[in-house]
Symmetry: none
Subunit: 250 residues, 2 copies
């Protein structure tokens, strides 16, 4: 699969349709074409069409979904744009490092770049669905980029890392791995299973969660678990449940 | 003189005031503030103010002139944005090379980055007032960037070349972590604890280990677990053991 087919740009809850159009144009300039919109406030929109200029095809083929989880179902590398440091720090890349990761992994599996709302970016829950965060370096006094401007910088860096000047895919060092990586959906099932078990062993109280699930997501998220490892982890969780049941009955 | 005082962005004959505002915002994001407008079609403009967001000061201080020569009077390095190769080839830089030149020369003398009209860029006469041209690499099929998007990419590269080396914005994963990382000894205790629990839940048979512990070491070894995460993992293992004991006794 070509990089063009593997890299999606996901816009979450965009308020201004002009930013959707401008992002589509930036994507087409930089050789990308898969745009996913999570609950856009106004779409389709004439304003988006105007700003998209000759990237109308990208708008027309944009996938509109109702949750970020749905947008990320098939993605095995998810990078979210983040303007500030959060309560729980997350693995953080600069745009160039982000682009190198995309270039390395897009030949193997679907990759998503996620950008949040104009005024508030991605919320904590959304940021925790990402393996990495990317932060565009700015002047300390004014770090708030326009959404489409941020998208422009990020897809520009992806283009630099992935394509040579004549549009060919540049050969990058590929990550060698013996197993396919888990999808977002598989990770989601794992977290649900893990949470059930942590409740069963009295380790976790969903009514007083503190930051436990966030920390688990950050921990297992940055491992980039492969499918065989996932089978092992799910097997361990299942055996814990079976043993608890069995001993209760004995 | 600081780089901020030495670098001007010059917009020639801009049609859409929104692009003037968006360029001001991009400049402020990237630590620049000298904006020069050569014969803007509409300025001052409410649309420009809206798109400038918190960069209103840059719009208010913008210098408006009637010729590019006047804009460039004091500049000793002039770089013009060019989308295509021209009839007379000119020294051509990519954005990174352009930024390196700006970073090298701005401490000595005033530098200008010149961007042309939305529809047709700079004309040949204007391009010949530039020492260098800069071209943003694009997909071959669609090379026409929005004016403000092009300005964003170019000032972003200038910011990277001029400011990030001072260490205030470049983020590495290590600098960005809130907890000390585990030692090798702590990891070793964890693997021993994990193995005991996997035996207790009948998931692991040390006499027929297959590659289970190796896979667990590969999995947990490839992230650097921090001490708080380790406390959580050890806590989970301990609770599993306690619950198994308790239910056996019930």
């Amino acid at each position: 699969m070509s990089i063009k087919e593997q890299v999606s740009v996901v816009l979450v809850n965009t308020s201004h349709p002009g930013n959707i159009g401008a992002t589509a144009r930036a994507m087409k300039n930089m050789g990308l074409h898969k745009l996913v919109l999570v609950n856009p406030l106004e779409f389709p929109s004439g304003v988006a069409v105007g700003r998209a200029a000759s990237a109308l095809d990208i708008l027309e083929q944009a996938r509109v979904v109702t949750s970020l989880e749905e947008a990320l179902e098939e993605c095995k590398l998810v990078i979210g744009a983040s303007a500030r440091s959060r309560s729980i720090p997350w693995p953080m890349l600069n745009p160039q490092q982000m682009a190198e990761k995309v270039a390395a992994e897009a030949p193997q599996h679907p990759v998503a770049l996620v950008l949040g709302r104009e005024d508030s970016g991605l919320n904590n829950e959304e940021l925790q669905l990402c393996h990495y965060h990317v932060q565009i370096p700015t002047a300390p006094k004014y770090s708030s980029l326009n959404l489409a401007a941020a998208a422009m910088v990020l897809v520009y860096e992806i283009h630099k890392a992935c394509f040579t000047e004549n549009g060919d895919v540049e050969l990058s060092e590929e990550q060698y791995w013996d197993q396919p990586l888990c999808s977002g959906e598989q990770m989601q099932y794992f977290y649900e299973h893990l949470e059930r078990v942590m409740v069963a062993i009295d380790f976790h109280d969903p009514d007083n969660p503190r930051q436990l699930m966030q920390r688990m997501r950050r921990l297992f998220g940055r491992i980039r678990i492969d499918e065989m490892e996932m089978n092992i982890l799910r097997g361990i969780l299942t055996n814990i449940e079976q043993q608890l049941d069995k001993r209760s009955q004995d």
